[in-house]
Symmetry: none
Subunit: 124 residues, 4 copies
Amino acid sequence: MFILISPLNPDPMYKQVMDQIKDAIADGTLKPEAKLPSIREMARELKISEITIKRAYADLENEGYILTRSGLGSFVADINREKLRQEKLVESRDEIRKILHTGKRFGIEPSDLVDIINELGEEE
Amino acid sequence: MFILISPLNPDPMYKQVMDQIKDAIADGTLKPEAKLPSIREMARELKISEITIKRAYADLENEGYILTRSGLGSFVADINREKLRQEKLVESRDEIRKILHTGKRFGIEPSDLVDIINELGEEE
Amino acid sequence: MFILISPLNPDPMYKQVMDQIKDAIADGTLKPEAKLPSIREMARELKISEITIKRAYADLENEGYILTRSGLGSFVADINREKLRQEKLVESRDEIRKILHTGKRFGIEPSDLVDIINELGEEE
Amino acid sequence: MFILISPLNPDPMYKQVMDQIKDAIADGTLKPEAKLPSIREMARELKISEITIKRAYADLENEGYILTRSGLGSFVADINREKLRQEKLVESRDEIRKILHTGKRFGIEPSDLVDIINELGEEE
DNA sequence: GTGGTCTAGACCACA
DNA sequence: GTGGTCTAGACCACC
C-alpha cells in the first residue's frame, strides 16, 4: 500500500491518511470509481486502529473525495481535477501571503522568496 | 497596547501573544532591554487569563527573545536582527518547499507561485 | 427485466429491488398471480448476490405483496389497488407533515410547497 | 436544556442532537456567537456518551453551523439565515419530487398533495 | 465480508 | 475546566 504513517509527523494520523489519499486522487494514482482498501484492511496494513481509518474515510466522504456504501466499501468520487487545482492555488496564495507578511517585519523581501523558489525548483 | 487577540484565530491565544511580541521585536518597535508589560498588566489589558500570558512569556524566554528576572519583570533580549532574519528565511524556505511539493501533485508549477508573489507584492 | 440497481443510490440494494417490484405491481406492469423471476434468475440478471434478492423477496412476502411457494416460485399477490393508493396517501401525508414542520423553523410556508408542487407537476 | 433524545427515533442519536441544534439556530433560539453547552455538560444532561456529543459537534462544525475552539468551547457560527432557508427549500423540493414520483404509480396526483398541504396547513 | 453507531477510557494541548 | 486524538470492543444493517 502507498500510505506511510509517521509518528514524528505533527499531523494526527487520521489526517496523514487523508492527505495521502487526497494526493493519490489528485495525481491520478487513484482514479474515479476505484475501490479503496476496506477500513479493516487498511488498518491491518498500517497497523493502526480501525477507528482511526474509519475517521479518515468519514472525513474524506464529508469533503467529497470518496463515496462509502455500507457493505460494499469505499470508492473514489468523480472529482473535477481542474477544480482541485484551483482550490489548491487559492490555498497556496493564502500561505504565501502569510509568509510575505511576517517576513516583511524581518526584512525579507518578495524577491527573497522568488530566489528560494528558483533554487528549490531547479533542485529536483 | 499593540497586541490583538482573536478567539476566532485558529492559533492558540498564547501563540498569538508570542507572535506579536516577536514581530514587535523584529521590526524594532520593542528595542533590546525594553521592559515588557508585567504578566498581570498584559492579562488585564487583553482580558485573558494570566496563565496564558505566563505561558507565552515562558516560551519566549525559552526561545531567547526575552529575559525574565523575578521581581523586576521581563525585558527584551539583545538579539542580533540579522540572525533573526536568517532564521526566518530558513523557516520560509521550509514552508515554500512544502507548498511546492504538495502543489506539484495538483499541477501547480513553481512559476505559478512566482506569479502569486509578484501579484501580492505589488498590492501593498 | 425492468429493474435497475445503482450502487450509488443511498438505498440498500434489497430495498431498491423491493421498491421497483412494488412500483411494477402498483402501476399494473406486474398483474396479480403473475410469476416473478426466480431468485437465481433475478440475481444473475442484476449481477447481485442471490442473498440480496432472497432478502428482497422475503420482505415483499412479509409485506403481502408477493407469495412464495417452495419449488414453484414467487407470484404477485392479489392486492387491492385502491387500498394501496390509500396507504400511499397516508404515507405521503406523514412525509409532507414532516417537511412542513421542519420547514416552518426556516421560514418556509405551506404556500412555498404548493409552488414547488405546481412547478414540478408541470415539468413532466 | 432544549434537546430531547428518543431511542424510538430511527435517526442515530448524534443526528438527533445535530438536527435539534440546527433547528435552534434556524429559529433564532441560538443566536450567532452564543456559547453552546460544553461537550461534557451536554453529555451529562442528555445522559449519553461524551463521544456521541463530540461526534455531533464535530459534524456541525464541518457543516459550518458552529465553531469550536479547544479549551474555550463551541459557539454558534454567524450564518446567513436566508441562505439556510434557500438550502432547506432545495431539500424540500427533492423530497416532494420523490413523493410525486412514487405517488404517480399509485394514482396519486399533484393535486392530492396540494389538498394534503392545505389540510395540514390549516390545522395549526 | 463490508461500513455505521455507541460505548468506555487513556492521554494530550489549551485556558 | 475545555476540546482533540487514539485506542478497544460491542452490536447492528447490509452484501
